[in-house]
Amino acid sequence: MKRLLFLVLALVIASCTGQATPEPAPEASNTPAPQYRVALVMKTLTNPFFIAMEEGAREAEDEFDIELIVRTAAQETSIQQQIEIIDNLIEEAVDAIVIAPGDSIELVPVLKRAQDAGIVIINIDNQLDPEFSASEGLVDVPFISVDNEEGAYLAGQYLANQISEPAQAVILEGIRTAGNAEDRKNGAVRAFEENENIEVVAMETANWQIDEANRVAGELFTDNPDIELVFAANDMMALGVLQYLEDAERDDVLVAGFDALDDAKDAVRAGTLQVTIDQQAALQGYTGVQYAIRALQGEDLPAETMVDVLVVTSENVDE
């Protein structure tokens, strides 16, 4: 009976007095939320080029104290996945999207939706089609990249300068609806045309991918066994070609790539790859994020910013 009374009393008292605080009391987090949330959307998680691009963007993240969200599609050809990623980012209401679009046309409508939702868009790497963008109303999108035509021209020229007798050449293109793929093809063609000994016997796409390039190289060399020059529009495809040449025991073919991946530089050192183009992916990633922040702060940005390309050959690969 006494216990009962005690309980009743305790209950009454508890409801009147203040609350005791236990040791692990909840507390507001003391790290302030990052000011901006910027998303970097890239083409694939399987090309080391984009790892370098991410590194540059991460540098900007630390420097400007923002939150960086990195999203990639599975493969260069996964355009639909990129579109879905943008749709998600619109839902998540990020402040800015820095995008390396896999396709110059298909992504325009969804990016327009993002812009309408108040999200800042920065275009890096591969340029969105300016005419189609304008017709869809996607405007004021700063573009940061390298001069792809010029880069490809320099790589092609490096090969062409070594040719003084008639020789056959092929060009491995990227995804044909991507503007940078078109530019690189044109650059290589221009370089090869300047040397009258060179005849371009085929131009095929391998969609930027290493295994596809390996297969396509097999077909090209079967049809044209005399090919002596190969320009591949990126290093992944160039590495696919080099593997084919090794398997076929061909060491008389000159190959050019683009991107200056570590593995490509190793190949330049080994002498199997003649030249590749460093388009400073990290710098592109960094500048993309930096531009996003500057745009969010109301600054006007140049419509086009070109990052320098560096020609990487056996003479300078270790510099």
Binding site: M1, L4, L5, L7, V8, A10, L11, V12, A14, S15, T17, Q19, A20, T21, P22, E23, P24, A25, P26, E27, S29, N30, M42, L45, T46, N47, P48, F50, I51, E54, E55, R58, E67, L68, V70, T72, A74, Q75, Q209, I210, D211, N214, M236, L239, G240, L242, Q243, E246, D263, D266, A267
Partner: protein, 764 residues
């Protein structure tokens, strides 16, 4: 409450386990881990990274809170997808301890608990980490050996969100502690990942679930905690004693207020008057305390012994218990359904790309997952036989306790089902004992199988019922929510589609096999026939040679003088035996070719010389018939070609002699020319021509334009067939252009094999 939260956490993490187990079954990943010793070139490394990356990318998007999926080979290779692309900076200590712990664990998936993120480049500092060692069976040593391991990391955001919103009154809070006594959840987010204070650790030192009252920072606190079966982690609710009864939740608060008020009144009265009133109140008080340990639905309702305030109090308490039970049940049902929905989604994705030969295994796996998730005892997949039947064969089955399944179900008592199932209705029997008199046979049958309750859903393709899946509970009655039955029906559809795919694939495969066998048999019998002919022809030729020889001797009158009439007859014997010999030679040729015995023996020779030998042989024919014969050859012909001269001569001479045979006036022309890869031999005549319908089969055996022409022009009808076969054997082709009354052009194209070819083309 705590038990529910533990279940919910377990279900959430079970999703990840399921994902890891699925990953372990992906053949490409296993193969990659096995192939680590293969040449490690830049190409294989990058191409494999790309391939595995594509696979992992599909998986990581299926569970939104996943931070990363890592696959490590024992050789140190890392395949990865996650929130950063760059994984240069792997925390080696985490990798090593994860591998060693998973290796030592007896569970396929080992829960490390809350760990620093293995990817030091990520912004997410602490993540829930699980790992699984992948084994390969070494056939030489006859034992399992590890080939790599998976490490999956999971974001705590939504776990944090959920636990921080659990309502435990003003000062109550929850904690989740992993098996290494680190905070997986703590209301102060900065403490997550750190080791629990000794005070907290000492509470969980026992491995038994329960409730304890202890002093934390000098505050008497009720701690209610359970261990997770899946992870071994502890989920605990902390409620200061003072606020316990005041602030449990809104229902309890309201009820308690009434109880307290009643208690005070009743206690005062009881103190003075009647101890029989005190007893029930004491019980109620104790029962409130027990509520912390024991779910409301397991507690017996109290009996009201009077209709006064005490009776009312008891009624209040009972309805409070009822409310609590209903609330708990509704919560649990909702959780169950969400989890079940996710399961079904996952199952359906698994079926999308499954290879036909793996459909059975995938179905069995799906049954296992569904059976376990729904606490079922048995699942049967029955398919209706094509013909009349009294038995329903069980194609797949699953038993919780792995007992043997019957091979079939009897269809007689289940007859009414088929009609319902045909109408796309599920059969739902919550309690077999309660089936009414109209369904006695069904009731007896189900009880004989030990089935207490069940749901059966149709398997149909294109509106035709193909079978059903029965989800059965043997141990206890099972109540199914309508939505969950809907989900089971979906499973039926998924399985139905898969089985249909399998059936179509099997039929196709059978057809292919039959065709192949038929084709092989046809080829074999053709070969046997040709061999027989070859032997026979040889046997026929020998006596004919004798006949010809002896008739020649007789005609020339070398041995005896033969009368003029007899000479005439002997000449006819001679001519006919020559025709017979030609026919036999042709048959011999054709059967040799068909038996695959024709041997070409190419030699290098000057094509012009070969052409000249043909001119010599044929010009006699031209003279005999009074026709013009012309040979044109191009000066582009290579100096040397590689060809079997006998075979080619047979082709050309055959065409030429045909041309002369069927041409009565005009001329016969042989053109020899070349393009880059072929040389072209063209025989043109101004003869009777060949009608279009005959041109179709002109190269078939025993064909001439019509049967009458065989009589008019002689010949065996084998010539062109032999020509055709030789040309094909030489890798070339022959075509015909002809018009009746105007003439015919036969064109033979043969690949040039010339030792001098390359240089000649360049000189052109």
């Amino acid at each position: 409450m705590v038990a529910n939260q533990t279940d919910l956490l377990d279900l959430q993490l079970a999703q990840i386990e399921l994902l890891m187990i699925n990953l372990a079954g992906v053949e490409d990943i296993r193969q990659t881990l096995l192939d680590q010793d293969a040449a490690n070139t830049a190409y294989t490394r990058l191409a494999t990274q790309a391939e595995i990356g594509n696979i992992l990318n599909r998986y990581i998007t299926s569970v939104p809170q996943l931070v990363s999926i890592n696959i490590f080979s024992l050789q140190g290779q890392n395949y990865y997808v996650g929130d950063t692309l760059n994984v240069d900076d792997i925390r080696e200590d985490i990798r090593e301890s994860a591998y060693n712990e998973a290796l030592a664990s007896d569970q396929s998936v080992y829960w490390q608990g809350i760990e620093p993120n293995i990817n030091a480049n990520s912004n997410i500092e602490y993540v829930i980490t699980a790992s699984e060692v992948i084994y390969n069976f070494n056939r030489e040593l006859l034992q399992q050996e590890p080939i790599g391991f998976f490490l999956v990391t999971y974001n705590i955001d939504d776990i944090y969100e959920r636990f921080s919103t659990v309502d435990l009154g003003n000062d109550g809070y929850m904690l989740v502690v992993d098996s290494k006594r680190r905070y997986v959840y703590h209301p102060r987010r900065d403490l997550i990942g750190t080791i629990a204070s000794p005070e907290i650790q000492s509470i969980f030192s026992s491995h038994v679930d329960g409730t304890t009252v202890t002093e934390i920072s000098s505050v008497a606190t009720v701690v209610n905690y359970t261990h997770s079966d899946l992870t071994g982690w502890v989920v605990a609710a902390f409620t200061p004693v003072e606020t316990l009864t005041a602030d449990v939740d809104s229902i309890r608060t309201a009820t308690l207020a009434v109880v307290i008020a009643s208690l005070m009144v009743v206690a005062a009265v009881a103190w003075f008057y009647d101890s029989t009133v005190v007893a029930p109140i004491r019980e109620i008080t104790q029962r409130f305390q027990r509520l912390q340990d024991e779910p409301a639905d397991q507690q017996a309702r109290m009996v009201a012994r009077s209709k006064d305030e005490v009776g009312e109090l008891v009624t209040w308490f009972n309805s409070f218990l009822d409310n609590l039970v209903m609330k708990d049940r509704a919560e649990l049902a909702l959780i169950e359904r969400i989890v079940f929905e996710q399961l079904v989604t996952q199952i359906s994705t698994e079926f999308i790309n499954v290879a036909p030969q793996k459909i059975d295994a995938t179905i069995e796996k799906a049954l296992d997952v569904i059976g376990r998730a729904n606490q079922l005892d048995a699942i049967y997949v029955c398919l209706l036989p094509d013909k009349e039947f009294t038995q329903l064969p069980i194609k797949h089955h699953w038993h919780l306790d792995k007992t043997e399944s019957p091979e079939h179900l009897s269809s007689v008592p289940l007859k009414p089902w088929l009609e319902w199932l045909q109408d796309h209705q599920a059969v739902y029997i919550p309690d077999s004992h309660r089936l009414d008199e109209t369904r006695l046979a069904e009731k007896d049958y189900l009880l004989s199988l030990g089935i207490k309750s069940l749901v059966s859903v149709p398997i149909a393709t294109a509106d035709v019922l193909k079978g059903f899946i029965m989800f059965a509970s043997l141990q206890e009655k099972r109540v199914w929510a309508e939505e969950n039955i809907g989900l089971l029906e979906l499973v039926g559809q998924i399985v139905g589609t898969a089985l249909e795919r399998q059936r179509v694939e099997n039929e196709r495969q059978q057809l292919v096999d039959e065709l192949r066998t038929a084709n092989e048999m046809a080829q074999e019998s053709s070969r046997l026939k040709s061999e027989f002919l070859a032997t026979m022809s040889h046997e026929l030729r020998t006596p004919l040679n004798a006949i010809q020889g002896f008739t020649s001797i007789l005609i020339e009158g070398l041995i005896v003088e033969v009368p003029a009439e007899a000479v005439n007859m002997l000449e006819r014997i001679h001519a006919n035996s020559k025709r017979l010999l030609a026919l036999i030679n042709d048959v011999l040729d054709i059967s040799r070719i068909e038996a695959g015995r024709m041997q070409l023996s190419p030699t290098s020779l000057d094509p012009r010389q070969l052409v000249e030998t043909w001119r010599k042989e044929v010009s006699v024919l031209a003279e005999q018939k009074g026709l013009t014969f012309e040979i044109n050859y191009s000066d582009k012909l290579p100096k040397l070609i590689e060809v079997d001269p006998d075979a080619l001569s047979k082709v050309v001479l055959n065409l030429l002699s045909n041309a002369f045979k069927f041409t009565h006036e005009g001329q016969v022309t042989l053109n020899v020319d070349r393009n880059e890869q072929y040389w072209i031999l063209q025989v043109t005549d101004t003869g009777i021509g060949i009608p279009d319908d005959a041109a179709e089969y002109i190269f078939d055996e025993f064909r001439q334009v019509d049967q009458s022409s065989t009589r008019a022009y002689g010949g065996t009808g084998l010539g062109l067939s032999i020509v055709y076969k030789i040309v094909r054997a030489m890798g070339g082709d022959i075509t015909l252009v002809s018009a009746v009354g105007t003439g015919s052009i036969f064109t033979v194209t043969l690949p040039i094999k010339s030792p001098l070819l390359e240089s000649e083309i360049k000189n052109d």
